[in-house]
């Protein structure tokens, strides 16, 4: 599960929120119980102090202060109540003490006031205690300070236990919620995964397929219906394009066929005046060129619409380039150009060999055409990480700065008069671009006017030759598709 997935984000978000709420709840419980326990203890200590106070007052008239202590011990038996009690005289002298002396702060006489007060005190090495101090005044005007101490140990122990229980419950509840929520999200997003898988499989060739519609009546059903409508519109658009190509082919080709047929017969007819025959020859040449332009335009529109490839196979691109260059060597020889090839290493690609050969032919043909006599043209094929790269470098006339942006556009000509005279259709480089794009690659150019150009054509390469599939067998191709081509 990647950190960007909806499942991950949703789970993190609600886990955070839930944990936050649970922590707040636990803090509230803890604070409440703490407050409640301390108040209870405090109330009982206050009550004890009052009781001790009244006993002290009853016996205050006795001469013997020891009697006060006895009375308190008798009535109250502090040990069994888990209390420590100290009674001090006005001067701070100790009249009575039960329990260990260290429970109370050693010197507190001067700080004792008339108003009742509470303090918590931690004696050295002992447990925390809550001490209530209260003053009583006998009729004789004599003042006594009464201190009742209660241990906070049981309270603290209870709170510690509560904390442990709360922490455990919090962890458990969070874990259960996370797991439950994760599976809930997963099951409700499952249709989305199915849709993604199906959408991956739908290409321009299988637009008749549709998404599975989940009958859940929720947003996902809406989404699948909307996607299906979109695919339907795409399918219609594609049909329109193919329909148009087919119609255009027929409407353009039929008249061209007739013109060509009639003209061919005419130029070979010896009864026609030679001058007129020459003129007809010119018309015929232009007709043939027009036919080529129509062919190439239609071929390109099919390439761009992604409906052109059936003859895919795996092969060594270097080998294809080497043979093609050799076929064309004579063209370079004619112009006394030095033609060099560097394509010794095998570079395997998956593609349509005849289309890729056309790329080599078009690039090389351009290089030869636009390089003056005595220049040189070099062709290389290299493997660069996951790409097969073909470069064609010439020492020709080059391309102007402004030409760079347009050179791959249809019918763009850098030097109109000159290139038309050379007999091209003005489509060579845009065909190269379309073929590149259809193979998942691209073409680029570097050039300096007057010094030459370098065309760079790259398509994805295969890591190795892989299983043989030199045929257009659809199944082999489909199964080979996932093989490191993208």
């Amino acid at each position: 599960m990647s950190s960007g997935s909806i499942r991950f984000r949703l789970t993190v978000w609600y886990t955070g929120v839930l944990a936050g709420i649970l922590v707040l709840f636990a803090v509230a419980v803890y604070a409440g119980v703490n407050h409640f326990l301390r108040r209870n203890l405090h109330e009982s200590v206050v009550k004890d102090a009052q009781e001790v106070g009244s006993i002290v007052l009853e016996n205050a008239n006795e001469r013997d202060e020891g009697a006060i202590g006895r009375e308190v011990g008798e009535h109250f038996s502090p040990e069994s109540n888990d209390r420590a009690i100290r009674v001090l005289g006005q001067d701070g002298s100790q009249i009575y003490l039960s329990g260990p002396a260290e429970v109370f702060p050693a010197r507190n006489g001067p700080s004792l006031r008339d108003q009742p007060s509470d303090m918590t005190y931690r004696p050295a090495g002992g447990q925390e205690v809550l001490i209530r101090t209260q003053a009583v005044q006998a009729e004789s005007g004599k003042k006594y300070f009464i201190q009742v101490a209660a241990s906070l140990a049981p309270t603290n122990q209870t709170l510690r236990n509560l904390l442990g229980v709360l922490a455990l419950a919090l962890l458990l509840a969070t874990a259960i919620a996370v797991t439950g929520g994760f599976f809930l999200i997963r099951s409700s997003l499952k249709p989305l995964d199915n849709m993604a898988v199906r959408a991956q499989k739908i290409t321009s060739r299988s637009l008749h397929e549709r998404m599975p519609i989940s009958n859940t009546g929720d947003e996902l059903q809406q989404l699948s219906i909307s996607l299906n409508r979109m695919i339907e519109r795409l399918e219609e658009a594609f049909h329109h394009i193919s329909r148009f190509s087919a119609d255009a082919s027929h409407e353009l080709r039929t008249p061209l066929t007739i013109m060509r047929g009639e003209l061919e017969a005419a130029v070979q007819n010896s009864k026609i005046d030679p001058e007129a025959r020459d003129a007809l020859g010119t018309v015929l040449e232009e007709t043939v060129r027009l036919s080529k332009i129509v062919d190439q335009l239609l071929a390109m529109s099919r390439l761009d619409a992604g409906e052109a490839f059936l003859e895919m196979s795996r092969f060594d691109f270097s080998e294809l380039v080497r043979t093609t260059v050799e076929y064309m060597r004579l063209l370079a020889d004619e112009k006394k150009l030095a033609l060099k090839v560097e394509a010794a290493e095998p570079v395997y690609v998956e593609g349509d060999p005849s289309r890729l050969q056309q790329v080599v032919v078009n690039l090389l043909d351009n290089a030869i055409k636009y390089t003056p006599e005595g220049g040189s043209v070099s062709v290389t094929v290299r493997a660069e990480t996951d790409k097969a790269v073909l470069t064609v470098t010439d020492t020709g006339i080059g391309i102007s700065e402004e030409g760079h942006a347009h050179i791959f556009e249809r019918f763009y000509r850098t030097d109109k008069a000159r290139s038309r005279q050379m007999g091209g259709t003005g489509l060579g480089l845009s065909i190269v671009k379309s073929i590149g794009a259809a193979h998942g690659g691209r073409v680029g150019v570097q050039s300096a006017e007057g010094r030459g150009s370098t065309f760079r054509f790259e398509i994805p390469r295969l890591a190795d030759k892989g299983p043989r599939s030199a045929t257009s067998d659809g199944q082999t191709f489909a199964s080979a598709k996932g093989f490191e081509t993208s």
């Binding site: 087919a246 082919s249 027929h250 080709r253 039929t254 061209l256 066929t257 007739i258 013109m259 060509r260 047929g261 009639e262 003209l263 061919e264 017969a265 130029v267 070979q268 025959r277 020459d278 007809l280 020859g281 010119t282 018309v283 015929l284 040449e285 007709t287 043939v288 036919s291 080529k292 062919d295 190439q296 239609l298 071929a299 099919r302 409906e307 052109a308 059936l310 003859e311 076929y327 064309m328 004579l330 063209l331 004619e334 005849s354 289309r355 050969q357 056309q358 032919v361 078009n362 043909d365 351009n366 007999g423 091209g424 259709t425 060579g428 065909i431």
Partner: protein, 225 residues
């Protein structure tokens, strides 16, 4: 030889019929699918040239019905559709050859003759035009008894021209036959090779055998005949 041409475009019919008749074929014409199928089922033709986009009955349907009745007869498809898928579909339906419009008439003729020759694999070992001689076994070429050295491409080109002597071959046909279809389009490679071949074959001779037919292509022939 009797051919059936099923094509609805009158002007295409005109020049194809004229051309084929000049080549001494007997040509029957049907202007729609239904009529074409009737003719094909009623007479014994040597070959059918079939357009695909037809009124009445689609060419593909006509092809299937002809094949059902006669699995042997060669059928050449003539069409404006040139998608790979179209070709595959029709070869599967039983077409023997496939020619895309617009086509050179010379190419149609060469393909028809090739289809009619098929089966009879008689291939001459030695081709001769005037005093030019090409031996297919030893792959040697002589003119006036004198050996001419050719590269393998030049040899293939000359063999193709001589096998179709007297017939004009278009650049496209030469490219498809000697090179590969992907060379079609931009290059003038055919012209360069023909020029080289001509230098070797016709250089310094009184009679030039290889001629250029403007706008169409090249032909090799003996002018005296």
């Amino acid at each position: 030889m009797r051919l059936l041409l099923i094509e609805d475009e009158q002007k295409v019919v005109d020049f194809v019929q004229r051309g084929l008749t000049a080549e001494r074929f007997a040509v029957d014409v049907a202007r729609d699918g239904v009529a074409g199928l009737e003719l094909a089922q009623s007479y014994d033709y040597d070959l059918v040239v079939l357009d695909l986009l037809l009124p009445g009955m689609d060419g593909t349907e006509v092809l299937r019905k002809i094949r059902r009745g006669n699995p042997q007869i060669p059928v050449l498809i003539l069409t404006a559709r040139d998608g790979v898928q179209d070709k595959v579909t029709h070869f599967e339906a039983g077409a023997d050859d496939y020619l895309t419009k617009p086509f050179a008439f010379a190419e149609l003729l060469v393909r028809i003759k090739a289809l009619l020759r098929r089966g009879a694999t008689r291939q001459e070992t030695v081709l001769r035009i005037a005093d030019l001689e090409l031996d297919r076994l030893s792959q040697q070429v002589r003119r006036g008894g004198k050996r001419i050295e050719l590269t393998s491409k030049e040899y293939s080109l000359l063999e193709y021209l001589m096998a179709n002597a007297g017939r004009v071959l278009s650049r496209t046909m030469i490219i498809e036959h000697v090179w590969d279809q992907s060379f079609d389009g931009a290059t003038n490679i055919v012209d360069v090779y023909v020029r080289h071949l001509r230098d070797k074959v016709d250089e310094g001779r009184e009679e030039n055998l290889i001629r250029t037919v403007r706008g169409v292509g090249y032909v090799i022939s003996d002018e005296r005949q």
